[in-house]
């Protein structure tokens, strides 16, 4: 399949999944009621559900899913490691500590912004910490040190979370665990706007690095010989990808699997040219997470399944199938 045909296919799939995401939910609404609500008519309840809940939630899924997949593709390229995923630098650990602190101390009552803000700050702390370790002593940044620092910092944050939770009430523990598992349930228009303001410019900035990211596939030395300013590309791309991840984690918790598997799937289909891989990963990640969220809230409605369960249940078989096919094809 060519990159263009896959692009149109994914764009159509994303459009459909957004429509479905708004159309379906725990409260049954007809297409006419949904359309009415979107155009400002219909009942107050229908408008609240469609415009106040479903639409922002679906759009947040698009932003977070697309951002995670694009960040994952970037981390895989920079670390030259197919196992790399957006949370590899400890971003999720830092965000979780921030969120758990807010829950444990009851600061969430200060406003709906308190938890995402604390999570975002926690993620930034993780990023700064890991980068400081990996770039110490003025030497070029060593991605192996970066990886190790990420793993160790994540372990430290896990210990922090365990400590906080061990002295918290059962209710706090439950909400913390649910948050860590990831969910788009907290979506509102403010979170959509803030996430869009972070994610979209960052994704454009990553696109501008697509060609030097291609060179990373042949190693840092060779990339240097081919004219890439490797050090600058590495720092810039890592920081942008980490920020995208941080803004996603802040509003949706730790949603696993999208950032690991989506870029892989796209890579298997169209190859490793990041000029195609990055935007296609965004489209596929956005579609995937939007659909996963729809399934998460419809299957056991009115109860919700954690979205990470869906991404794994759907993603794993699909990925294993792709893996098997590509192995035999190669």
């Amino acid at each position: 399949m060519t990159r263009w045909s896959l692009g149109f296919l994914l764009l159509a799939a994303l459009a459909f999944s957004v429509v479905f995401g708004v159309r379906f939910g725990s409260v049954p609404l007809s297409f006419i009621e949904v359309a009415g609500a979107l155009t400002g008519g219909g009942t107050d309840i229908a408008r609240d559900i469609v415009v106040g809940l479903r639409l922002p939630r679906t759009l947040l899924g698009v932003l977070v899913g697309g951002g995670l997949a694009m960040a994952g593709a970037t981390f895989q390229a920079l670390l030259r490691n197919p196992l790399a995923e957006p949370y590899i630098l400890g971003v999720s650990g830092g965000a979780s500590v921030g969120a758990v602190l807010v829950l444990a101390f009851g600061w969430a009552s200060a406003g709906s912004w308190a938890l995402p803000l604390a999570a975002f700050i926690g993620a930034l702390v993780a990023i700064v910490l890991v980068f400081r370790v990996a770039t110490a002593s003025g030497r070029p940044m060593d991605v192996r040190v970066l990886l190790l620092a990420g793993v160790v910092v994540a372990a430290f944050f896990s210990a922090c979370i365990a400590l906080i939770l061990s002295i918290s009430s059962a209710r706090t523990v439950q909400s913390a665990v649910l948050w860590i598992m990831g969910s788009l349930a907290g979506a509102n228009w403010r979170s959509v706007v803030v996430t869009a303001a972070y994610t979209l410019p960052a994704c454009v900035a990553l696109m501008a690095l697509a060609r030097p990211l291609n060179l990373m596939a042949v190693g840092e030395d060779t990339a240097l010989y081919l004219g890439a300013d490797v050090e600058r590309v590495k720092r810039r791309a890592l920081l942008i990808a980490a920020l995208i991840t941080a803004s996603g984690v802040a509003v949706a918790g730790v949603i696993g699997f999208v950032g690991l598997v989506v870029p892989h799937g796209i890579r298997m289909i169209v190859g490793s040219d990041h000029r195609a891989l990055l935007p296609l990963s965004f489209l596929a990640g956005a579609t995937f997470l939007t659909l996963a969220d729809l399934v998460a809230r419809v299957v056991l409605a009115p109860a919700e399944i954690p979205i990470g369960v869906i991404t794994a249940f759907v993603g794993v078989p699909f990925f294993l199938l792709l893996l098997r096919r590509s192995l035999y094809a190669g």
Binding site: R139, A217, L224, L226
Partner: protein, 264 residues
């Protein structure tokens, strides 16, 4: 393109002895210049210094009379194509994509390949006999094919100089000769070629000039006849070596002797 060093000293962080200790050399434009020397004598460091990757502690590495440290990476890549010793491919890419990477320094960040780029890539693929392999995944290539693809990538840069670190390593005789013939042709067309190699025989056969390094210093420099003396080689490699000059072709052949025998 003129490639030269002037009393170049390069020291790796934390090392007491410098990797290169006052190396002065000059590669005449359009010649094939071989850099020889035992393991650890500083050959690869010299290459990295010429490419502006290993910083000079004192002295200079220069391209066209300008210190390599002052070149931007893109400018340097437009003038010098380099093939490093080892390269691992992280993700599957095609031969065409690998060779196309040579156009990187000629393209602005968002520009797509133009006619000129496609022509340069096609010419490089043809020169390295890779046209039929263009769509193959590079991770499925044989050692010889992979080396040819990397050299094609350097040629696609349309450089004025080529620097190669042991490009014939672990290749069979036919592939070694094919690569050296290709480099010789390039030099004959005006390309400055710097070749790091362990193969004294190939260097003797193809090089116009050679530099013999020993523990970071220049042990000998000049034509093959100047450098390939039994005394110098035996001294530098610390192994008895015999050199034979073919009277009709003038080419030297180098034979390491069995331990215990003495060089004649």
């Amino acid at each position: 393109m003129n490639v030269a060093t002037d009393h170049l000293v390069v020291r790796y962080a934390g090392q007491a002895t410098p990797a290169l200790d006052g190396v002065t050399m000059e590669v005449p434009t359009g010649s094939l210049y071989a850099i020889l020397g035992p393991n650890g004598s500083g050959k690869s460091t010299l290459m990295r210094a010429l490419l502006g990757v290993a910083p000079a502690e004192s002295g200079h590495a220069m391209l066209d009379g300008r210190a390599t440290a002052t070149w931007s990476r893109e400018d340097l890549a437009r003038s010098v194509g380099a093939v490093g010793q080892a390269e691992s491919i992280a993700f599957p890419i095609t031969v065409r994509e690998l060779v196309g990477m040579g156009r990187y320094p000629h393209l602005s960040p968002l520009a797509a390949e133009g006619d000129r780029d496609r022509t340069a890539v096609a010419a490089a693929l043809a020169a390295c006999d890779l046209l039929e392999l263009a769509r193959r995944d590079v991770t499925t290539l044989s050692g010889g094919e992979f080396q040819r693809a990397r050299i094609a990538r350097a040629l696609a840069q349309e450089p004025r100089a080529l620097v190669l670190d042991e490009p014939t390593n672990s290749l069979d005789v036919r592939h070694q000769m094919a690569i050296l013939e290709l480099l010789r042709e390039s030099a004959d067309r005006g390309m400055t070629v710097v070749l790091i190699t362990h193969s004294l025989d190939l260097a003797a056969q193809f090089a116009d000039h050679m530099l013999l390094l020993s523990e970071g210093r220049v042990a000998a420099e000049g034509t093959p006849a100047d450098v390939l003396s039994e005394r110098i080689l035996t001294d530098v490699y610390r192994w008895p070596i015999s050199v034979h000059r073919d009277a009709s072709t003038g080419v030297h052949t180098i034979t390491p002797l069995r331990s215990g025998s003495s060089a004649t």
